[in-house]
């Protein structure tokens, strides 16, 4: 399927060009965040308190990690990783289940490793065998989630009390460790995506696969690495949540694939490859966190978040497709 070959403008994202559209798109995320905060302060007096804002961020920090990985996947033209919930569950279950065997720190690392292996399977099949990413990750997610349920027999795994566990669940300088982790990882991977050869490969592969292959860009490796990275970050997401709430079960990451995708597209990263940025995805995560908090404060039932998320994905991608057609026609 020719999903990734339509970009007439291959190579790195045209970040340096200043047009009315690009100024608007740079400002649109902060504007949306401010607008949502104003709206929230009208809805509830408790919205604009430091405690609520930190809570909002805390709730979305872990899934934000998966969204960062999904940005690499989208930029390199790999569409999306639908196995995120399965890798989150694997990371969480192993991180808690192995605690008594190897200790809390090693168990957390083991959880991240197992999730990375899930990502590796995706990466090999997508990058090297070149199977459609959606089908691969749909299948591997189904398989791994079944495997994780088999591991615990549908039950719950509880965390053993430990200094490491309470550190991860606690605060550092008044800010939750999960929030720190999200921002530090986001900053590092922002630099990786925008300033390193690996980052440039991602843009090149997503912008024009054939041309990149011809210019000796390791196209297969790049795409595979994006999925391994997403597996690793999903594992971190699972470990963070499991240690924060002190328990893990297979449905721990249900729906996270959609949160990650919508954070990516809300930030303006194209699902069809070639352009995007981690900072924009961070903006997307914050917007989603605010929207979901608003839905709770207004008193709408929880599935409304899914409805909003799905509609956002559809609208943003439709606009993206329209803009691409228009620029393509010029």
């Amino acid at each position: 399927m020719s999903l990734v070959k339509s970009d007439p403008n291959p190579g790195p994202a045209p970040a340096g060009t200043l047009t009315a559209g690009s100024v608007l798109s740079v400002l649109s995320i902060p504007l949306a965040i401010v607008a949502l905060m104003v709206l929230g302060s009208f809805v509830s007096p408790s919205f604009l308190t430091a405690r609520n804002l930190v809570n909002i961020l805390n709730a979305y920090s872990a899934v934000g990690l998966a969204a960062i990985g999904s940005t690499f996947v989208a930029v390199c033209g790999g569409l999306a990783d639908l196995s995120i919930p399965a890798n989150v569950a694997m990371g969480a279950l192993v991180a808690l289940g192995a605690q008594t065997l190897v200790g809390p720190v090693a168990a957390a690392l083991l959880g991240i490793l197992v999730a990375s292996l899930g990502g590796l399977v995706n990466g090999v099949l997508i990058g090297y065998v070149r199977i459609n990413p959606i089908i691969v990750t749909l299948g591997s997610g189904f398989l791994l989630l079944g495997l994780s349920q088999l591991l615990v027999g549908g039950g719950i795994v509880y965390s053993e009390p430990s200094a490491f566990g309470s550190f991860v669940a606690g605060n550092l300088l008044g800010v939750p460790v999960a929030v720190w982790t999200f921002f530090v990882v986001a900053l590092i991977l922002h630099i990786v995506l925008s300033r390193t050869p690996f980052g440039r490969w991602n843009f090149a592969v997503g912008g024009n696969y054939e041309a990149s292959a011809a210019s000796a860009v390791p196209v297969r490796f790049t795409r595979a690495a994006a999925f391994v990275l997403t597996g690793l970050l999903s594992g971190m997401c699972g470990v963070l949540i499991a240690l924060s709430i002190g328990q893990a079960r297979p449905i721990i990451g249900a729906g996270y694939e959609f949160v990650a995708i919508s954070a990516v597209v809300l930030g303006g990263t194209s699902l069809f490859g070639g352009r995007g940025s981690i900072l924009r995805t961070v903006g997307g995560v914050i917007i989603l966190a605010l929207i979901s908090n608003l839905i709770v404060l207004i008193g709408l039932p929880t599935p409304s978040t899914g409805l909003a998320t799905g509609t956002i994905i559809l609208l943003v991608v439709a606009v993206d497709a329209y803009l691409r057609r228009r620029t393509g026609a010029e």
Partner: protein, 338 residues
């Protein structure tokens, strides 16, 4: 004399995977269970194949046209819930028709997103998957609806001619009808052209957008039918009825041999794939294998087969026909030298 190597054995297994799977299930079932190889087992397999079968049937023209529909499970849930929840207000039969209508409507939404708004079917139906699933949970408050008239739909699973039930007759009949359409009519043959090479189909004057819109509406209708049948025969409208059936449906279609790359496939192959997967499921249940394990092997079969198909199919961008003739040429060449 012909030497058998692992490669040729692999090719044979992939090509005749349907028969291999069915034979393996029959042999293993006959070996582990005393009363597995009976007409009752066959009836049970065909009966239970009906629901996932309708999903898989709807998916078949979609894949032939080179598209994908990930929202079928969510559409099925919506239709199943509507079929039961509307019974008190509308009556049993009108409510069932509303269930079908919900499916068609959802198909129209997908068609609009793909054809008019030009959103890739993968992403469009991924979004409608989420929208449909959330909508079903919102409308139902997360609670399944129980039928006030539970006996109404029971006839669907009644005994019919020893190996059939009314709902398996519906499924097999629909598969045959689709086979006639796909293979025997000009519009069916045009669909293969759309999936093989869209530019060629456009230059041949085929209304590509019309065909793509059509297969999405058909897929929505089939998912609606799956939901109506499932809801009526279980007398329950569950808002999550279809959420776990997307992967089994895709797997069944792929087992049948329909390719994700488009341009190739058949509804009879899908019928075979559904029956093979159903036989495997029935065998595991008879042996007391937990349902999680079924998710594991279903996912494994799917990934294994698409990988083998991909390796056998070669690179992206070439049409299946050239690949097939290339493969045939290569085989005859090898046959000549060995």
């Amino acid at each position: 004399m012909m030497r058998l190597n692992i490669g040729t054995i692999g090719n044979v297994v992939v090509r005749y995977r349907l028969l291999v799977m069915l034979a393996a299930v029959a042999v293993f079932g006959g070996w582990t269970l005393d009363d597995f190889l009976t007409l009752t087992t066959l009836q049970s397999i065909l009966d239970r194949a009906a629901v996932v079968g309708f999903l898989a049937l709807g998916l078949t023209p979609i894949l032939i046209a080179g598209q994908i529909d990930l929202s079928i499970g969510s559409i099925m849930s919506l239709a199943a819930y509507a079929t039961i929840a509307l019974q008190p207000d509308l009556g049993n039969v009108p409510a069932a028709f509303i269930g079908l209508g919900v499916g068609i409507l959802a198909g129209v939404v997908n068609a609009l997103a793909v054809v008019v708004f030009k959103v890739t079917s993968l992403v469009a139906t991924l979004a409608t998957l989420l929208i449909g699933a959330s909508l079903a949970l919102l409308i139902s408050n997360g609670q399944p609806a129980s039928s006030a008239d539970p006996l109404f739909g029971l006839f669907l699973t009644d005994n019919f001619l020893a190996i059939l039930t009314p709902r398996s007759v519906l499924f097999i009949g629909a598969a045959l009808l689709m086979f006639v359409w796909l293979k025997g009519t000009p519009s069916g043959r045009n669909l293969y052209a759309v999936g093989s090479s869209m530019p060629a189909a456009i230059s041949a004057g085929i209304n590509v957008n019309g065909y793509i819109a059509g297969v999405f509406v058909l897929s929505g209708f089939c998912a609606g039918a799956a939901g109506v049948i499932q809801a009526l025969s279980s007398a329950t409208g569950s808002p999550i009825a279809g959420s776990v059936l997307l992967i089994p449906a895709i797997t069944a279609v792929v087992i049948g041999g329909t390719r994700l790359e488009g341009g190739r496939g058949s509804s009879l192959a899908t019928l075979g794939g559904v029956v093979a997967l159903g036989a495997l499921t029935t065998l595991s249940e008879y042996n007391g294998v937990p349902s999680y394990t079924q998710a594991v092997y279903t996912g494994l079969i799917l990934i294994l087969l698409i990988t083998l198909d991909r390796i056998a199919g070669g690179d992206e961008g070439k049409t299946t026909r050239t690949l097939r003739s290339a493969a045939v040429a290569k085989q005859t060449q090898q046959g000549g030298t060995s």
